[in-house]
């Protein structure tokens, strides 16, 4: 499969997230692009290798296509009449940035679980006294992205 096709599949996956909040099943990609199941799985694996998305270990199910999460998380983003799940604090703001839309974000203080509500409106973010902590330095981000 040529690189352009793989990148078209990447864009389709992202648009599917945007429209449904969920990743497409690999067979949906196969159908959309007239591929066999194995060819679609191969495309998913290539995108995983390129860090364009991340598969659950030993599967062809999408765990993350940053900023979107393929599984529920404590970072909920309400936008466009849908609720998306983000992978982390950064991605919680990344979703309205990627969708170019306003959003309400619900998350929790990592220390005490206190609810944190943020609002993105007219390309500005509002939230009181909230800090964001990155534990892992950039050089190590891709060693274990789930931990990062």
């Amino acid at each position: 499969m040529n690189g352009d096709k793989v990148w078209e599949i990447r864009t389709f996956i992202y648009q599917h997230f945007a429209e449904t909040t969920c990743p497409p099943h690999v067979d949906e990609v196969a159908s959309r692009f007239s591929l066999s199941h194995d060819e679609a799985v191969s495309a998913y694996r290539e995108l995983h290798q390129r860090h364009a998305l991340y598969l659950k270990p030993n599967t062809h199910e999408i765990l993350m296509a940053n900023p979107f999460s393929g599984v529920p998380t404590p970072f909920q983003v309400h936008a466009n009449d849908r609720t998306y799940f983000a992978n982390c604090a950064w991605d919680a703001l990344g979703i309205p940035a990627a969708l170019h839309t306003d959003a309400e974000i619900e998350a929790a203080c990592a220390q005490n679980g206190e609810l944190i509500r943020l609002r993105v409106s007219n390309r500005k973010v509002q939230g009181s006294e909230v800090l964001v902590h990155f534990l892992v330095p950039f050089r190590d981000w891709y060693n274990d992205l789930t931990y990062t």
Partner: protein, 72 residues
């Protein structure tokens, strides 16, 4: 999943102690939003092909994230 929100510096300090972890980088909400827009604005586009290390470093530089935490 260690890019986290904290309600205060005190909450962050308590969390670091409970995790026996070293303080990483702390960003304000406005800086994170700035980073998010630069990082993700074209993520849904067919024209997005990922980034080179140089492009990543340029984004960090533009929002003054220049400490060793943000370099290779």
């Amino acid at each position: 999943m260690n890019m986290q929100f904290f309600r205060s510096e005190e909450a962050l300090s308590e969390w670091l102690g409970s995790q026996d972890a070293t303080r990483g980088a702390v960003l304000s909400l406005s800086t994170l939003w700035d980073l998010s827009q630069r990082w993700y604005h074209n993520r849904l586009s067919l024209d997005y092909y990922g980034r080179t290390l140089e492009q990543v470093q340029q984004i960090f530089k533009e929002i003054k994230l220049t400490s060793s935490f943000w370099t290779m």
